[in-house]
């Protein structure tokens, strides 16, 4: 869980549409989670585990850092 002043953003929604408008259900199946968990991740309400982050990145053929962005100054600025 991020600490104070730390935010984990993600590009999951954009990457889904870049991947031929992949649905949340399809991404969930590839990553081994439910559609609701993908929804929560996209909304920034849930920070996935490292394992799930790797699975999602692999589903898009990207690295974890292409999908998830750790921003430690967003709230501080």
């Amino acid at each position: 869980m991020p600490g104070k002043g730390e935010v984990v953003r993600n590009n999951v929604r954009r990457l889904r549409f870049d991947a031929g408008e992949m649905t949340q259900e399809q991404l969930g199946k590839l990553a081994g989670v439910t559609r609701h968990t993908i929804m929560a991740i996209e909304a920034g309400k849930y920070d996935p585990s490292l394992l799930l982050a790797f699975r999602i990145a692999r589903a898009f053929g990207k690295t974890v850092e292409d999908v998830f962005i750790f921003d430690s100054e967003q709230l501080a600025s």
Binding site: V33, T34, T37, A40, K45, Y46, P48
Partner: protein, 130 residues
Amino acid sequence: MAEFEKYAWWNLCVAVGTVVLFAALCIVTRKPAASMAAFSILALSGCPFFRLRPPAADERDREIDRRSTTVAMGFFWLVFVIAGVGPGFALGWDTLVRVPVWAFSQVISAAWIVILAAKSAASIRMYRAG
């Protein structure tokens, strides 16, 4: 709505329904011992899990389950402490009281209702919050 959020709603309805039915039976029959029949519907809290292919919990479901259990046990502990020391302060620590067997049995069911309702309510809130 996630499958496990539906389960939480189901369990909350079972807990509230049990209390409502018990109160209604107490009013109608005026016999708390007979009204204990209401607690039999607490068994319905297990129904969602009696499916041939129950849904698999993912990491978010497990995280919410863990956190809501912590909240429920914390709330139960608070109730437990208040119920444990409350009568002593209210009636005096050396007071003798006679408790019927049905009241003793109801305490067990009431404890389960508190845990079930608190865990369900916490789960629903956590699913809504993300």
